[in-house]
Symmetry: D5
Subunit: 145 residues, 10 copies
């Protein structure tokens, strides 16, 4: 299933529609454990102005039968580079694509976007959805502070 | 509904009464997710002395049917710049205006004001109101520390 | 009720007995919200040696009918400057005086004293008292660094 | 000469043209010593868009016969709050006004503006002007890091 | 009961067996409040190699009838300086001695030892013992980070 | 049982199969207390490319009858240096080997790997496994940040 | 001369060849002063692998007759986003283009690229070139750490 | 000459006029070496308003025949606690008193005062006075950052 | 000349004798500019004990005719992984090999080793050698602080 | 010459008179390079009160014919543990002993002592002695900040 790891680099997919999240079997499916993937240099385009947006994107999940392969994740995230989408839509789509690819027991996706107009936006979505107690986001381990 | 994004900049509203928080439809209303908006350069005036106050204002909410558009939020917050109001009143009003504009499932507003007379004041209000366990505020992701 | 704000500065009270915490009406008493007051440059005297102690004093409370006015708080805290008292007694007294002045729904007072003899002492008291799960103090928003 | 210190607060001047930097005599004019004044919450307006700019303004100088009085400096800096001016012009004008007010032996003014469009601008001017070796700015003592 | 505070300094006790933790009456025994004592420069000896160990030792407790006097604590902790003991034993003994001295309602002791062989060890013990949910230690207020 | 501590250094084991985690009796088995072991300079090899991986590995556990001896842990961790294994497999194996060696009441192992391809991976596994509430990892006390 | 500031946003230029650095007259050309421009979210492509590179690009210069307009700089820097070029070539080209656009008295350009293969590269070039004493780069004011 | 060290604590002198800086002989007068004394909790009073000022005071000097005894320095600095004086006058007086007490080869005194009215003031004076190149203050080792 | 970049990964060389630093032509040889290469995860072995050492290795140089290719540098540095050598010898050899490979105008190599026995060692060597003013090392841009 | 490295640990020497700094030949004596040794957990006793002092001791030197062996340095520094000496005397003696042991081309020793009575003392001495420009100490690479 894994087509990218260990080979020479490939061209970037032009959009998330053209990219694929590859997976590999989880070898300890009986144990609930977490995988945290942190991509501090995510880029996209603003759908209104066409200008670049930059963000720190993080994924945290508990795998079920399959895990996300990180090299395909790198290509998947890079496919947003010239893709125009609202910040909130990006975070929700990454979560949807992750769930479709590996059906994790639980997952959270967070995107922390660099300030525009003096205001910074962070969006965070969780699967499965539930009534969550609202609390201020804390810096994760991979925050470049 | 959105009148500001993608156009040339406008003049600042003279007070929050003249400003409007615009909204757009939440595209994933079935999922509980959070949006964190952080404005580290908020300004207002002291109603007693007329002197400038500075604050870091943050909003965290779970959208229901509509989301706040960030460019109108920028104008809304800038409308306090020459508006005289007590710190506690500012935080409570921003929460009231947010709730009136987009009726979020949950919301918190926090204003961290720069020290006056050697004392720093931080005010935080939550919607819907509830018995909250009192605990020291922790630094959020966007705190400029 | 408020006699200090907006006037020229006054002389310091010689001790907390001579100082008064002034209050003003809470305009949103129906909502539970928090006010955090942070005074990083508190001073007092050691009752045994007469030497100066320095501390970072913080107050966090949920107002009920009345709020503490910050300029009177500044004078109240400054009244400890030449007052000899043990660290634990200072924190408990500030909490008692706060409760007496504005009868908050909940309140916490914390004093973090600079090291003496290579040992740093932090004391924290809560109103109303209750069985609290003991856990290490975390840095609050107003921690000076 | 000093009209502001120790009195009740006054209204803000509407622009730097209406504000005045007051001074007092330097009591140790025979010694070269430095005074560093740091104002982390400076505000102004963009002359093209009318939007607020925020900056950290710092002044460092060696007094000759007179020193700048800090309360008048507070009012002077606050007078830029609703004044439209380019970043570079603000820094150069503050230096010009400082030199006109107290004729220091040497002076530097630096303004570090919050990012606009993802780019942060810092401007620094020195009196008297001279061939300076260009080197990256280092964090000063008052940098809010 | 207090023999050390306010007198000239004494010689160091040669081991914890020779040292005593002195106490004084808790003046607000009806209120549950916490006292945090942080000693960043603790020293001991490795029982196998005889080499010095260094640690940051912290105590957090809720007093019942009596509080620990900090000058006797300084001498007590200094008594480990030439005492050979394993890291885990040191933390458990300090907790035992604290409980014996003042019978606190609750107490935690933590020792964070400097790395040996590239591995850092932190030990934390609690009184009364209970099933605690295992979670990563967070930096306390007095952590010298 | 302890063969390494206090002797001259030995050669490194070539793989975790050749290494052994030694233990010693827990002297306070009646008390639930925690031991945190932090190894910021862990190394391994990527099983696909053969390139070095670097990680910060942490172990946190509540001992039952026996504790892990830290010098054998140092050798055990060093045995991964030329061992090719996936990040997730390394973390799960360290947990399995720890449980086999000392049967702790509870244990967590976390490996924070340095970025590859701009993405950082952190994996965390817990014994006994259970339904854990998914939340962002926070920096532990020994994080070298 | 300035075509971008104050208008609605434009499309991004496809490469630095298509972008232009606009300038405006320096109003205090008789004074040597510095302008520091910091762009923490620069992106480009690796010419060998086609993969995205990310960098923090900084410009520091002493203007002569003209200053760089920051909105055109934003577009100029964004034009590298899909442009394949080596790190060293990017830094040298930005310096060349800056010198061609505004002929500064002095200028430095620095690009700090995110790690690839565990190695971080920072390149810094200066105009006019000269024998510089080699010394380790220090963190500038705008360093995002 | 040394009257304070090793005895029980004394009462605080009421002003710097009543305090004395004690000295002891420099044992290595043939070597130029530096002594840095850092007092992060200095207090004084504003001569106009009577309100407390707080500062971090630092002394750096090269001793000649005599060194300053630190316990007398502690009492000397504490004598400013209820003394009304301008910030600039405090720093210049400490330097004068230090020079009178021990005639150092060189000395610098710096006082970094906590913000008043949103402006922070740092004053630094040097003995012997000389034409100094004006440059931004950098954080010293003892800066509480 | 460049054999590694853009291909699949290769096996690690067993020692620096088997590794080669590849170079490419400097395209702007007429300009003195700097390249800083920072490798925070360097590993080697202690020649006496056989135990792993870890270090942060940095290279700073001004290229003349040729630049170092970073992928070959990665392999070159990884070749020390199982190579036994003293800290000082490693730093001097890296400098020698760099000079042999690309004959830079100037170069500095620094290795900051993790503590052994509670003492941290940093070694720094420069080409060409010269009388350097001894001063404390400052944190470089890539220091992981 | 080297008697300690690679053997089992020895007993600590009781004072610096009983300890010896061992050396080994410098293999690149023709090159001026620096070695920085940082010992953050140094301990000694106050000669007046007998109480423990703690310090961060650093050595920086340019070796001539011989280098200091770090394991003997560890024992040498540990010999101060129960040795009563003034802070200034400790720093000057370490420099004297270093010069006697290996006759470096240049050397600096710095001791940063933990605060006593609210005042922190740092002493720094240099060999050979010379007229040094007095400037505030900056944080070195190994400062634990
Ligand atoms: Ca992480
Ligand atoms: Ca601000
Ligand atoms: Ca945020
Ligand atoms: Ca606060
Ligand atoms: Ca300052
Ligand atoms: Ca220490
Ligand atoms: Ca504390
Ligand atoms: Ca590392
Ligand atoms: Ca730890
Ligand atoms: Ca970035
Ligand atoms: Ca900057
Ligand atoms: Ca800046
Ligand atoms: Ca303070
Ligand atoms: Ca210091
Ligand atoms: Ca760097
Ligand atoms: Ca170092």
């Amino acid at each position: 299933d894994i087509t990218l790891l260990g080979r020479s680099e490939h061209r970037l997919p032009a959009s998330p529609d053209e990219a694929a999240l590859e997976t590999f079997p989880n070898r300890t499916p009986g144990r609930n454990y977490t995988i945290h993937l942190s991509a501090p240099d995510f880029g996209s385009l603003c759908p209104v102005t066409g200008q670049p947006d930059a963000a720190h994107v993080e994924i945290l999940y508990i795998p079920d039968e399959r895990c996300v392969e990180t090299k395909s994740l790198k290509f998947y995230l890079a496919s947003y580079r010239n893709h125009a989408s609202f910040n909130e839509a990006i975070v929700n789509r990454i979560l949807d694509d992750l769930v479709a690819a590996c059906a994790p027991k639980q997952a959270i996706v967070r995107g922390r976007f660099v300030p525009r107009g003096g205001i910074q936006l962070t969006c965070e979505a969780r699967h499965p959805s539930r009534e969550i107690p609202l609390e201020w986001p804390a810096a994760s381990l991979s925050t470049p502070h």
